[in-house]
Symmetry: C2
């Protein structure tokens, strides 16, 4: 690629710059203002462009792609409303520390002031979910702006960068391809706190709380050595962007979601060292319950936040404890749960998962209430990767599964999704079919926003009447997920017991392309 083609338009310089900066995947639902970018896909080879039917699928897919590819994808979105549709999954991506480069078409610079129907404050819409926001003002700037966007997205652990591209900056000539900007190194962890952290980690009343990049296979192994040597407990946050687990790896439990269980779990610890994790707080506030989940008086030492050099922090702890030759604690043994039978309930489902998760699988977990008990029964499954929703906005599961499958075409993806969550971004199924992605989707159909039934009590509602309960219910009419899947070209089946679920998962995993299982609880 060269910069000296005077006839290169802004859109072509954009695509070429993205490619030179290492981005080669684009999730898109384009409109008129993005037509030159779309046209450039044919003139500039190398960019895989994947069509989605709604932008929430694009942004969620970019999130999943980053988690598994370790580099950003871009999205191509149509003006403010297109960005708006993708906003909640960008919120999730931001909270997960996923790098995403959003390219948002805008009206031609001279057209914006006319306030056409699709005109909106795009920078205003982008701001709350973006770390970096910029509007290109000329075709000559587009390349350089794109390189800056990629650089911003790559800042550890990963950031959301949103670049607005007015249509005239795309169609005008004078585009210049920009060289990649070298990625910023992770800043060092806080060495001034190392001694305190080393003192803190001693005995079962001390906790090493991990998050972010601490949850890779190698870093967990280091943490396992520290735990073995010091007797400290290891936990990770409830929601993790990416957690490596399975037989042979250091198994780590999560701080539970339910407030009372979380308080109980954290109560024993007098000293907590944070590496890549934040101090535990409640997902929500509840009347008469604390928001800080650690016991009062607990000493919390934030050694390394999620953007800093987590590997170095764990190595320093391990060396400081003279644990480099210690065998790691909590190595998961290979365990196959007994074959469950009977109607579907969380325990049986967890056993089926423990029996079926294949080597090297990627599990996208949006199973919400059904999934709370999945961890113990799956800890001894073959090595796999587990992805959580870090932003709490539902509708993340199937889109993230798309991105994971695109990033890792040789790995099986399992998306475990609650029925309420699945209905947020059902359009994801179509893109799975279109791209023949190897995703087995399991929908847990309890036909209720079950998490909210529990939350009613937690927030102090003791007298919920029929109207209130009706607002939490999904059973009128009953959603038919097999029909839904077929409507978008995805093969599907419905199961109601553990035997059928196991068979269906095996079928799904053996099927090339996507497969959906409606598991009726």
């Amino acid at each position: 690629m060269s910069n000296d083609d005077p006839q290169m338009n802004g859109a072509e310089s954009l695509v070429k710059t993205l490619l030179e900066s290492g981005l080669d995947t684009c999730f898109t639902n384009p409109g008129t203002s993005e037509m030159h970018f779309v046209a450039a896909l044919d003139h500039v080879p190398g960019m895989r462009s994947i069509l989605v039917l709604q932008e929430g699928v694009a942004t969620g897919a970019a999130d999943g792609y980053f988690r598994m590819a370790g580099k950003p994808a871009c999205t191509l979105l149509h003006l403010g409303p297109g960005l708006a549709n993708g906003l909640s999954n960008l919120h999730n991506a931001k909270k997960a520390g996923s790098g995403v480069v959003n390219i948002v078409g805008e009206h031609a610079v001279t057209h914006i002031e006319l306030d056409a129907p699709l005109t909106s404050d795009i920078e205003g819409i982008a701001g709350p979910v973006s770390h970096w926001v910029h509007t290109s003002m000329s075709s000559t700037d587009v390349g350089a702006d794109a390189a800056k966007a990629v650089h911003a997205a790559n800042i550890a652990p990963g950031q959301v960068a949103t670049l607005m591209l007015p249509s005239d900056t795309a169609w005008n000539e004078g585009g210049e391809v920009a060289a990649p900007i070298a990625p910023a190194a992770r800043p060092p962890f806080d060495e001034t706190r190392l001694d305190a952290a080393l003192s803190a980690l001693s005995g079962p009343d001390s906790l090493l709380l991990l998050g972010g990049a601490a949850l890779g296979e190698k870093t967990l192994e280091v943490a396992g050595r520290i735990a073995a040597k010091t007797g400290c407990k290891l936990l990770c946050e409830w929601a993790n962007a990416r957690l490596e687990r399975g037989a042979g790896r250091v198994a780590i439990d999560r701080v539970p979601y339910p407030i009372d269980q979380a308080l109980e779990t954290l109560k024993p610890f007098k000293r907590v060292v944070l590496v890549g994790a934040r101090a535990p707080i409640g997902f929500f506030a509840y009347p008469e319950k604390p928001a800080i989940l650690t016991a009062e008086g607990t000493e919390i030492i934030n050694l390394c936040d999620t953007s800093q050099d987590i590997t170095a922090a764990l190595d320093a702890l391990c060396t400081g404890k003279d644990a480099t030759d210690t065998a790691p604690a909590q190595i998961a043994a290979s365990v196959t749960p007994d074959k469950p039978s009977g109607p579907l309930e969380p325990g049986g489902i967890a056993s089926v998962l423990g029996r079926t998760i294949p080597e090297n699988a990627i599990v996208v977990d949006e199973a919400i209430t059904t999934g709370r008990s999945f961890f113990p029964s799956t800890a001894g499954a073959p090595k796999h990767t587990w992805l959580n929703n870090c932003g709490g906005s539902i509708g993340y599961g199937m889109p993230v599964a798309i991105g994971a499958a695109v990033a890792c075409p040789d790995r099986k993806v399992m998306a475990l999704v609650g029925d309420g969550s699945a209905m947020y971004t059902p359009q994801a199924l179509w893109t799975m079919a279109r791209e023949e992605l190897d995703v087995t989707v399991v929908i847990f159909a309890n036909r209720v926003y079950k998490i909210l039934r529990g939350e009613l009590t937690n927030v102090g509602v003791t007298n919920a009447g029929p109207k209130a309960m009706d607002m939490l219910s999904l059973d009128r009419p009953t959603l038919q997920f097999v029909d839904l899947a077929r409507s978008m070209g995805v093969e599907a089946t419905q199961v109601t017991d553990c035997d059928a679920l196991e068979l269906a998962i095996e079928t799904g995993l053996a099927t090339k392309g996507p497969y959906l299982i409606e598991a009726v609880l």
Copy 2:
């Protein structure tokens, strides 16, 4: 309702205040932070609460409700991400001048600073689509804030008001019901321009361009008298929030969407008077084409904008022209198009619509390219109401149909929707089934983002390759709308010719509750 119940919590004061201010309909997808509002539905009678599966359905429904009920509904949304999911249809509502009161749950005031997973800058997300944004800080303020929100939403023609309700302001006691704030009157039109407007309207080279409240039956009749007396032409904007039409009413054409047709339509006019309409501009900018659609040198007189007293402006023109006793021009005769046959194409479909639109129907038009030629063949149908998308963000049609059907339970609603648009908010079908709404949905399945095929050429892309065309195509895999409808409890059929379409529409209209027709082009 009284204010002197010291145990009333903020949520109850909110619901009571909304009811006293005239709001009795709520479209919702609630979460934990909204549980007290949900609980209050049972304690405070009178609020109809309608569950949706994704927030874009809620905000679109509120838009449609306002257009037909003439008063706002409220939405109840879960934190920033819930609001974000509803943002694009709020954009459409804002552009349509629809009043909407969004109630957005927020974390408890003390919890916000902890930056929990679902924490976001909600006011920042709300700003770009709202005229009024406020966060309640105490349970004692909630009632008064709600009354202000309703007042803001009712400012003509209608505004988007977004009120954030931290969960502790909902659950704490001390709630006070606030009295309704008297709605603001529409400001007067610009009388200083009346003489110029009167002079301008004379002969076929003058145009009276109407929009907003000018498109009611009575106001159109006044415009018809002015046209009859002066020989001026009547047109309305391409997109109209609500247009009354059909046999016996003054028929009015729209300024076409395609840029070349719009330029051609507006070319003859040397003088344009605007009443409730904005000066015509292109939906998008196109290279080498003007953004201002009127011919160069055209005199444009903005007599009355969409928020001002449109009825008075038209009356003043009519009186000034001494046309109050003149018979209106362009009264549509009752015409039934000849029965079309053969495969479905836009002309035949338009004829079928002209033959089937029932008296008093509400037609929600998101038919995009297929629908561009619907007007001539339907002008002589029985009296009906036509709703357009004013903000250009697709996915508005089925949600708006929900709101229209809820507002007008005795009227038949027809939602005419392109396949690409329908896939933005397919969850709307479930709410139609749940609420047994009398909506006949016709999906025009051309299996392509057809509008973009045209736009490629308009923006100067002359060499689109296969990758580009693939990004505009919906045929891999083929969407099966009958399965989609059934998955959400809606009866459905597929048709491929005009005879079958007519029969299917008659069936749909005769069916109680929703009915979906996939019309394959």
